[in-house]
């Protein structure tokens, strides 16, 4: 069983057996989303912005976890004290693999709202246990994700330099994951609209809106029947 823990904004932890993968523990308006003492095996930041890297370095150091990210995120983590031997720079389409987990990054991009232009953001295709999770981070483009076979797809919906609701819905329609999870909404209406549209047009995708501290459990019943439970 895969447990997907939501902390809010774009921060998730994927827990399978003894392995915990923490995604984008960002800092928003000076506030941490994930506590420094969170214990993870792998901490990933998909880009170098504060809302992605946040206190990832601190958590990685505290829990002696691997820090994974693109070059920009890795540089930032390094400056914040992550030891070089625990730092791994992710390259597009080059998988990173440990027991039970295979992470394939794809180069996507987000709009840098403070500086303008685009900065690289990695979309992650995470095969963890017997589940395939797409986490496209902070992105305005979808890259190859529409062609990937995913059980769970986690997409931004806020439109602030990343996908708007329509883009997230459109990707769910094309990629047809079993479950679509919105994140990074700008208003309370965004996830509701995402849910409404995916339910109507998703053709097989179930929208699941997660609130902070909720846990989504996904598993294969009898080995072949996909099930999920939100607690």
């Amino acid at each position: 069983m895969l447990k997907i823990v939501y902390f809010g904004k774009t921060s998730f932890a994927l827990e399978y057996n003894e392995t915990t993968v923490l995604l984008n523990p960002g800092i928003w308006d000076g506030k941490k989303v994930v506590p420094n003492d969170f214990n993870a095996r792998i901490v990933i930041a998909t880009n170098q912005s504060d809302d992605a890297v946040g206190n990832a370095a601190k958590i990685a150091v505290n829990s002696k976890a691997w820090f994974l990210g693109n070059q920009g995120a890795a540089d930032k983590a390094s400056k914040k004290g992550v030891k070089p031997w625990l730092l791994h720079v992710l390259k597009s389409e080059v998988p990173y693999e440990i027991p039970d987990v295979k992470i394939t990054p794809y180069a996507l991009s987000r709009i840098d709202e403070s500086e303008g232009g685009r900065i690289e953001n990695l979309g992650l295709y995470i095969e963890i246990g017997d589940m395939k999770v797409g986490y496209i981070g902070d992105t305005v483009i979808r890259g190859p994700f529409e062609h990937l076979d995913m059980d769970v797809l986690i997409v931004p919906v806020g439109g602030d330099g990343v996908f708007e609701v329509k883009d997230a819905v459109s990707l769910c329609i094309d990629a047809k994951p079993r479950v679509g999870v919105p994140m990074r909404w700008s208003s309370e209406e965004d996830p509701k609209k995402f849910s409404k549209y995916v339910e109507q047009f998703g053709q097989g995708t179930v929208p699941v809106i997660m609130e902070p501290d909720q846990v989504l459990e996904v598993y294969w019943a009898a080995g072949n029947e996909f099930r999920y439970e939100l607690n």
Binding site: K166, V169, D174, Q200, F201
Partner: protein
Amino acid sequence: MSERKKVVIDLEESEEVQLDGLSEMTSIDASGVMSVNNASERSRIWNVKVLLGETRDSTDISDDSLSAGEIDVGSSWETNYGVTVKAPIMTFKEVFDTCGTIETEEPHWAYVAGKENPVKITLTVTNETDGELDNIILNKTIPPELSNIEIVSAKSGTAEYDEGTKQVVWKDFVIYPRESSSLVISATGIVEDTEPKKAGEVVITYRGEGQQRSVLDPDLAALTEFLTGIETAETEPNQWQCTLECSNESDLIVRLDKAEVYLTPEDGGEKQKMIEETPSIELEPDQEWASSFEVESKSTPKCSQDLQYTPVKTVTKRVLGTLEKAAQEIPVYSIDYSKTFDPPSVSSFDKTPVEVTIEVTNNGSAKLDNFTIEDNLPDDVMPPKSEHITVWIKGEEYTGPYEFLIDPEDQDPEKPHKLTFRVENLKDSVGEVEPGESLKINYAIMAWRNRPEKEYPSPVICTANTDPAGIPAVMESPEDGHKLGVIYKKRAISTKKAINKGAAAGEYIVVLVVSNNGEVTAENIEVTDWIPAGFEYISTDPEDEAPEVFPVDTGGNYMVWTWQRMNPGDKKKLRVTVQGEGEYERREPEVTSI
């Protein structure tokens, strides 16, 4: 034979009835005039009294008898009185059906604005008595919005429409006891504004000869020229025959009700009644009546008399009625609508959810009971599922019964779809939609890769109706109305090519960089590059981007890459290794996409 003259007591009673616009009685007033008419040509009557007894109870007359005094030849005496009644002797109902061509249990009660309303007016009068009603004249005012007035049928009498006075007059008929008669009028009603209209008043006058509203049963007591006397004649010594003689000296018929004669005994004792008769005989003019007795007396008997007589009366009566029905108010039903897309425009070649909101407003003056909205979605739009519609009525979310059909029943974005929303019988759920209130529906559609050069009209037809349903009020857009806007987003796929020498002799590295520099996702991208004759394809980095390679008739090979989609900003860099001999001729790669 001369006419038998009697004193005439005449009761002329009248009733005035007011009905409201829906033919319900709002008031009834009844009154009467009682007159005593001396029909004599030469005889006065005096000491006239009209005797009413308990029959006055239904009136406001306070005395059992009324004194009329003296009434000269050909003159009369009269008095007025009020009568208490609860219902008229004639009832009336007007059915003003604004859509007479559609049979319904209850009539249609509102005009639809801007259309021809096939009006049918049925006027029914009913005689509620056991006597005939005659002298009936019915006047129906025809309102100005009606034209093509036709008398369809009149069960009895004659009916005509006078264009000048705008009146239908129905007359020359009687209604037999407990029967009804009807007049049917057809017309065309056209109203352009939504202010309530008046259906026209009805005024009926009628007469019930021999009928009365009170229960007065008057009798008469009076005197007139009437000669009486007692003749005493000795038939034998001390034997006398006494005869009471009466003679009607008037030209009226006089009824002798009592005749008594008393004899005063010679010795002065108590009077003895010698004649006691109640003949109740009606004496014609100059007719005489006598009665006698014999008595023994030494002197001429002394007799006295007591007579009661009165001119004979006859009672005539009638009821004159007037019924006025107020004009029925006919409201007008009309609708307006608005349709919005949110967002109003979508990016070309994108997939965008669009909220469609259609609001139908009752802008007439009649309540509306059912609505239909037909929305026509163009192709390149994915329709909603039938369960994904939200409905508001009167500003509140509506969860009652409705129908939402999608034709064809699928979500294929390549086909146009017709969406039909229908809600009926609101009066039994949330109540009819009042003037100024509205019904609103909302659903989402998915704009599906719309092309900028194409137009996407989404016309709508809204209808509404009353209960019972007549001709629907319709508002519709032009056939090319409500276009979903498509914002043109530039497509720009660039290909750059470099030919670099490889590590080995005759080996070249062809570098191809394909970028989506446009503002919109490109799909079905096909890039073709040419390998000159004498060279062959070896490999591609990255390996999973290997092209299809096939020979060209004119020499060399084509390498073809296809990608389903490239998002704005996407870039693909390919390093193709080729090997061969000769000059490596450069040709520019070709790229196509949609």
